[in-house]
Amino acid sequence: MAEEVRVVTKRMREHTEDSWTLQRVLDTGGYDGARKAVVEMAPEELGGEVKSSGLRGRGGAGFPTGVKWSFVPADVSPKYVVVNHDEGEPGTFKDRELGERDPHQLLEGMIIAARAVGANKAFIYCRGEFALGSRRLDQAIRDAYGAGFLGEGIFGSDFDFDIVLHRGAGAYICGEESALLDSLEGFRGQPRLRPPFPAVKGLYGQPTVINNTETLSTLPHLILNGSEWFRQWGTEKSPGTKIFSVSGHVNRPANYEVPLGTSLADLLELAGGMQNGKEPKAIIPGGASAPLLTSTDVALDFESLQEAGSMLGSGGVVFMDETTCMVRNTLVTTEFFEHESCGKCTPCREGTWWAVKVLERIEHGDGRQEDMDLLLDICNGMDGRSFCPLGDAASWALRSGVKTFRDEFEQHVAEGSCPFGGGERVHVGARVGATGLGEAGITSQPAAGIDADSEPEAAQP
């Protein structure tokens, strides 16, 4: 029987009524890790502990946190810590829950990170749509200042630390760390050329550590208990526990914290199995960017999923049963990337737009025999040809949809309709202010299918 191992989610699961309040946090060991980091440990000890723990970033890229910190130059001031709380990877909802249910744990992690790299100022880049999460963070920051955990001389030491809560305004790309920095500086959220990397030249050109909410929320436990303790879970290259956001056609969609290396089948069991006793037909293991899997016989860690041709990504796991139209799924995913492409790089901006057009006509029964190869060709034109991984991710999701379920795509074309009956033209396209300019701008892609047969020229290879 599969079981959760609750480290980061312990407080929120055991105290569902008030896990976000300072009183409950103090009653359950809160701020002990931060106090230890500030009062008892030297900054280099903190960095060393995190490095030897092997903790890898929980935002998607999986870069070792301690190594990231070690790139920060010691002799440059000021430095910044920035929290990437701009969760938006489809199928992922762990950071939202951590922010809503345990905001103090995040603040504690920020104190530890700041102490380790010598930063006195930090920003939380909180996704604009997270109204409740922002209110909970607001209260937590207020209370932490009141308790002397933030501000001047925290925990009675000589370490000053301030946090500024900053809200995003609706843009998935701002979860990409260099785009986040541009957004935080007041620009359009578009990725930066690297090098230099943010650790060396980040916010306002100063050394900046950008960590994901889950990564930082792990730190208090890691610092309090040590790297050996942390390594009791997971694999050599993927140590520790990880929160997986499970959704789709399962009985109990929710966040589940399990040791890395847990099998996908066990995770499905934790989530109560598939609805109506069906079998999973396709699984997205790490957010919409991750290529599809068709079997649950795989371990959930960075290296195993890479071997299986996919990736751990953000830990957003979506299970789909046999009633799912994979053309529709691929269309929805590609529409997402088309909408969220920032427009900086031509291959991503145009490739996603073009692919949506082709997918729409396949889904609505107007597809052509050559369309599947055309889609794969578009993928080749996007993959590895843009500043940031958004264009890559769009191509991975699209390529895996076409390659894994090519027979379904061909069936759509051959039958001239969607075999799942999902081809009705639901007007889902228009988003208010997608560019924010209303009629003056390109508000969105046309509603699904509306232009499917009016623009055949767009698809000539």
């Binding site: 909802f93 749509e129 209110r135 607001d138 207020r142 305004a169 100063q206 957003g316 639901v426 701008g441």
Partner: protein
């Protein structure tokens, strides 16, 4: 009578040919927002949310007010503001209903919710109702897949929404009744939630603004590899401390 938000209040800046949208109290908030940051440009998004809280949406006068306040051009403000979906550049309703249309929600019935709302509101997604009370849009993943299909009303979350639930929520709001989210939060109006978002940082103690910093974002990348070709702005003159 239309209930659509109209631009209100403020003095005409005759010299520069626009209406300053902030009154004294709002200007105090704007100053508090700017004071949070090492560079005033970082305040662009919260200031535009503040404009939205005053005007109902991001008006041209509002963008000019912000530009003048922090020493940028109106074009620079438009360039930044037009990138983000939550900053609306056209009049919107009192309640913005956002229906997630991403994978988990689609697979659990989001299209039925979208269709029910289209019928109830008499408009397709992307539009505002004729009486100006509701704006209805589809949204990308709202990170609430555990409650799919999910919707937000002015950014507070509703989980496991059936078409009937969605219609009932509209009915309640139309009758002027209080509506509470899945977490029990009172649903705000567009102006209330915009103000809350604008002042999220400014309401709290602490600041990151005790030294002056230059921005490096935008098209030019000052680095060891590229010359800094970006034109200098007046507030860029401060030096890094330390």
């Amino acid at each position: 009578m239309t209930r659509r938000y109209q631009a209100t209040g403020g003095d005409i800046d005759e010299q520069n040919g626009y209406r300053n949208v902030f009154d004294d109290e709002q200007q105090a908030w704007a100053d508090a927002i700017v004071a949070k940051y090492p560079n005033p440009r970082s305040a662009v998004l919260p200031l535009l949310f503040l404009v939205q809280s005053v005007e109902g949406y991001v008006t041209e006068d509002g963008m000019r007010t912000v530009a003048n306040m922090i020493g940028l051009t109106p074009a620079q403000i438009l360039a930044s503001g037009s990138f983000y979906t939550m900053l609306k550049k056209q009049p919107q309703g009192e309640y913005l209903i956002s229906v997630c249309r991403n994978i988990s929600c689609t697979h659990r019935g989001a299209y039925d919710v979208i269709q029910a709302l289209s019928e109830r509101l008499g408009t397709d997604a992307g539009n505002t109702t004729a009486d100006g009370r509701f704006t209805f849009e589809t949204a990308e993943c709202l990170a609430t897949c555990d409650g799919a299909p999910s919707i937000q009303i002015n950014y507070d979350d509703f989980y496991d929404v059936t078409p009937q639930d969605a219609v009932a929520l509209v009915d309640k709001l139309e009758r002027g009744e209080e509506v509470r989210s899945a977490a029990g939060e009172r649903v705000r109006t567009v102006r209330e939630i915009s103000f809350e978002t604008a002042t999220a940082g400014a309401r709290l103690p602490g600041t990151a603004g005790d030294h002056r910093a230059r921005t490096v974002g935008g098209e030019a990348q000052p680095s060891d590899f590229l010359p800094d070709s970006r034109p200098k702005l007046s507030h860029d003159e401060g030096s890094h401390s330390g």
